[in-house]
C-alpha cells in the first residue's frame, strides 16, 4: 500500500502555503521582514533574529508556474526595463510596482535587503532597484568567487567579517540581540536537512530511478532553500526519503518506463513547466541529476552547515552555490553526475534571462561531445518570460535528439 505517495509534492505545497500565509501578515504584526536570494543564502543568521524571509526569486518562480509572469514583466518593461534583461528581476519589480499584490495574496514590505553577490551580478542590480523602491537598508554580502577546491582562508575571513557586520545591522533593524545558542541550533537543523536531501537526490542513482532529479527535484528543493534551520524542513525530507524508498519497493517512478537517463543543465522554463516536461516524458526520459537544484548550495560532496563553526560554515555555504563556481568546476560536476548517475546524455537548457547559467553552455556542450563523446542536446527558451518559449521548435529538437539516441541504441544491440 502506498502510504507516502505524493508526499514530497503535497507537503512542500503546504509548507510554502503556510510560509506565505505568515508572510502576508508580517507587516501588520510589525514583525521584521528581510528579502534575500536563494543562492548561498544566510537564512540561519536572519532567522536567529526572527526575520520573516522573502525570496524574490521564489516569488518570480511561483508567478511563472501560475502563468502570471507575463503581466508583471510587462509592467516592469513599461517602467523602462529593457526586454533583454533577466525576467526574474522584471517579474519581481512588476510585483513591487503593483504594491506587492500578487497571485498568492500580498507580499510584505522589507525592513532589510540582504544581497548575496554569489548567485550572479544581476542580484546586485536587482536589490539596488528594490532598495530604491522600498527605501530600506541594503546589505551586500560580497562573496568571493570559487575557483578551486580549496577556498582561501582570507576569503572565508572576509565573509565572516561581513556576516558579523550584517549581524550588527540586524540588531539595529530588529532591536533584538543574537543568541549564539539559537544560531547553533538553526545551523544544526540545517545540516540535518542537508544530509537527508542528499540522500533523496542520490536515490536517482538507482535504475530505474524512483525520482526525477530535475522535474521533481526542483520542487523538492524548495524547503532546503527557504526553510532550512527549521524542524519542519527536516521532517519534510524524512518524508520525501520515505516516499522514495516506497517508490523503489513498489517499483514506481516518475514515468511508466525509463528509457533514457539524462543529466540536465540549466533552469526550467517555469511558465511552461508541464509542456516542457511532457516533451521528455514522451520519450521515456528521466533526468537523473541536474545542476539547477544546486543553485542554493552544493551539498553532494560533503559541504554541511556546522554547529561547531556556525559563522565559518555559513560563510562557506554562502560561497558554495552553483553559479559562484567557475566554469571548469561546474563542468567537472556535470561529468561526475554523468558517471555516478549513469546518464546516457546531457541536456543543456539555455535561457535568455540568465547569463550566469547560459553563457558558456555551448562550450560545455562541446566539451562533452568532443572529449567525452557524450550526446548533448542544446535547447533554448526562458525561465521567466513566457514569450520566449516555442513549443513547436523545442519539440523538433527534443524529438530529433531522442530519435537519434534510439537509433544508435538499436544499432548497438
Amino acid at each position: 500500500m502506498a502510504l507516502y505517495q505524493d508526499l514530497g509534492r503535497n507537503l512542500q505545497k503546504d509548507l510554502l502555503a503556510k510560509w506565505y500565509g505568515d508572510l502576508a501578515l508580517a507587516n501588520e504584526r510589525k514583525e521584521p521582514v528581510a528579502y534575500l536570494f536563494v543562492s548561498g543564502n544566510v537564512e540561519e543568521l536572519l532567522q536567529a533574529y526572527g526575520f520573516h524571509l522573502v525570496y524574490p526569486e521564489i516569488n518570480a518562480l511561483q508567478c511563472g508556474i501560475k502563468k502570471a509572469a507575463g503581466g508583471f514583466i510587462q509592467k516592469a518593461e513599461e517602467a523602462g526595463y529593457s526586454s533583454d534583461v533577466c525576467g526574474y528581476v522584471k517579474n519581481d519589480v512588476g510585483i513591487a510596482l503593483a504594491g506587492g499584490k500578487w497571485p498568492l495574496g500580498n507580499l510584505p514590505k522589507p525592513d532589510l535587503l540582504v544581497c548575496t553577490y554569489a548567485g550572479c551580478t544581476t542580484y546586485m542590480k536587482w536589490f539596488e532597484a528594490l532598495a530604491q523602491h522600498f527605501e530600506c537598508p541594503l546589505f551586500v554580502l560580497d562573496v568571493p568567487f570559487v575557483r578551486d577546491e580549496d577556498v582561501p582562508a582570507a576569503d572565508i575571513a572576509y565573509v565572516v567579517t561581513q556576516l558579523r557586520e550584517l549581524s550588527v545591522l540586524c540588531q539595529a533593524v530588529t532591536g533584538r540581540t543574537l543568541s549564539e545558542e539559537r544560531l547553533r541550533e538553526l545551523v544544526r537543523l540545517s545540516a540535518e536537512a542537508e544530509d537527508l536531501w542528499v540522500r533523496v537526490l542520490e536515490m536517482a542513482k538507482r535504475r530505474p530511478s524512483p525520482l526525477d532529479g530535475f522535474f521533481e527535484a526542483v520542487f523538492f528543493m524548495a524547503p532546503i532553500n527557504v526553510l532550512r534551520g527549521t524542524p519542519e524542513c527536516v521532517a519534510y525530507y524524512e518524508g520525501v526519503l520515505r516516499e522514495m524508498e516506497e517508490r523503489v519497493s513498489l517499483g514506481i517512478g516518475p514515468i511508466p518506463e525509463e528509457k533514457f537517463r539524462v543529466v540536465l543543465e540549466g533552469p526550467p522554463p517555469w511558465p511552461h513547466f508541464r509542456a516542457f516536461w511532457d516533451l521528455f516524458k514522451r520519450w521515456g526520459v528521466t533526468c537523473v541529476a541536474s545542476t539547477y537544484p544546486r543553485v542554493g548550495g552544493i551539498w553532494d560532496w560533503g559541504m554541511r552547515h556546522d554547529p561547531e563553526r556556525p559563522w565559518e560554515s555559513i560563510a562557506t555555504h554562502a560561497m558554495n552555490g552553483y553559479t559562484n563556481w567557475n566554469l571548469a568546476r561546474r563542468q567537472a560536476m556535470m561529468r561526475r553526475f554523468v558517471a555516478e548517475y549513469h546518464a546516457d546524455a546531457l541536456v543543456l537548457h539555455s535561457v535568455k534571462s540568465c547569463r550566469a547559467f547560459s553563457m558558456g553552455m555551448a562550450d560545455t556542450r562541446e566539451l562533452f561531445l568532443r572529449e567525452d563523446r557524450l550526446p548533448a542536446l542544446f535547447i533554448e527558451s526562458d525561465l521567466a518570460d513566457p514569450r520566449y518559449f516555442s513549443e513547436a521548435q523545442l519539440r523538433t529538437r527534443v524529438d530529433a535528439f531522442f530519435e537519434a539516441l534510439e537509433h544508435r541504441r538499436s544499432a548497438r544491440v
Binding site: R370, P375, E380, S381, Q393, T396, A400, E403, A404, A411
Partner: protein, 266 residues
C-alpha cells in the same frame, strides 16, 4: 512496394514517392499556406499525379517537417532533422555534414555512415538569417526569389551586412540603396551574412568537408557559392536538395514497411 514521405515545412510542403528499389517516382512542392492539413494532402496527391500512381498503391507514409503531426494520412512521424540526414546520406554517399536552410530555420546536422544523426544544431529562437531573410531582401529589391542568387554572383564589391534580423533587413537594404550601392553588392552581402551564420552552426556540430546543402534555399546558387567561399571546400546541392526532408521520410517509410513485412516480426 511504394512508399511516401511528406515534409510539411513552414513555407513549402514537399511530397516524394519512392520505390522499394530506391527510385524516386514522383515529387511535388506546394506552398504550405494557412491550411496545413490541406497542404499535406495536396502535396501527396500532386506527387501521385506526377508519378501516375494511385494512392492505394502506397503502403507506408511518413510525415516530417514542422507540420508532421498534421499529415493525417501518415503512418508515422519523424523529425525533419533525422530525415534530412537520412536523405542526404542516401543520395550523396559520403556526406559528413548536412546544412538545411528552410523558411524559418537553419539546421546543421552531423551524419553517420548509415544516415544516422550524430549531432545537430539549429538557429536559436531568433529567425535571423534564414530563408525568410532572403525573401525579405528579394521583396525590398523588387526581385524574384529565384533570381537573387544569380544576381549576387555578379558582385565585385560585396557589402558588409551586419544585421541579419529579418525584420530590419529591409530598412538596412533601403539605406544602402539610398547611398547608391549596387543591387548585386547588397545581395552578395546578404548571402555572405547568412553564410556566416550558417558556418557558426556548422562549427557547433564540428564541421568536416563533405557538406550536403538541403532545404529550399539550396536552390539558390549565390548561397551555394557564398558557402563554398566561406568554407573553402565544395558544397553539394542538387535538384533533390529541396526535397531532402521528404526523401528521408520516404526512406524511413521504406525501412518501416520492410520491417513490418519481414517474416517473424509483427
Amino acid at each position: 512496394m511504394i512508399v511516401a514521405g511528406i515534409d510539411v515545412g513552414s513555407t513549402a510542403t514537399k511530397g516524394v514517392l519512392l520505390h522499394a528499389d530506391g527510385r524516386i517516382l514522383g515529387r511535388a512542392l506546394v506552398p504550405t499556406g494557412a491550411n496545413v492539413v490541406r497542404a499535406a494532402e495536396r502535396a501527396f496527391q500532386e506527387a501521385l499525379r506526377t508519378a501516375g500512381i494511385e494512392d492505394w498503391e502506397v503502403c507506408f507514409i511518413v510525415g516530417t517537417g514542422y507540420g508532421r503531426y498534421k499529415v493525417q494520412f501518415g503512418h508515422a512521424q519523424i523529425t525533419e532533422i533525422s530525415c534530412h540526414a537520412k536523405g542526404a546520406q542516401f543520395l550523396m554517399p559520403g556526406t559528413r555534414t548536412v546544412l538545411d536552410i528552410g523558411g524559418q530555420d537553419t539546421k546543421a546536422i552531423k551524419v553517420g555512415e548509415a544516415g544516422e544523426v550524430l549531432d545537430f544544431c539549429m538557429n536559436d529562437k531568433c529567425a535571423a538569417g534564414t530563408g525568410r531573410f532572403l525573401e525579405a531582401a528579394a521583396g525590398v529589391l523588387g526581385l524574384d526569389l529565384a533570381e537573387i542568387g544569380d544576381v549576387s554572383l555578379r558582385s565585385r564589391d560585396p557589402l558588409r551586412v551586419t544585421n541579419v534580423c529579418t525584420v530590419f533587413v529591409e530598412s538596412e537594404i533601403v539605406s544602402h540603396l539610398a547611398k547608391g550601392r549596387k543591387v548585386e553588392d547588397i545581395l552578395r552581402g546578404v548571402h555572405n551574412a547568412i553564410a556566416a551564420r550558417s558556418l557558426a552552426l556548422l562549427r557547433r556540430v564540428g564541421y568536416e568537408p563533405g557538406l550536403a546543402f538541403t532545404g529550399g534555399v539550396s536552390r539558390n546558387r549565390g548561397m551555394v557559392r557564398a558557402l563554398e567561399e566561406r568554407l573553402g571546400s565544395p558544397v553539394h546541392a542538387s535538384e533533390d536538395s529541396p526535397f531532402m526532408g521528404a526523401i528521408g521520410a520516404a526512406l524511413y517509410a521504406r525501412e518501416r514497411a520492410e520491417h513490418a513485412a519481414a517474416p517473424g516480426k509483427a
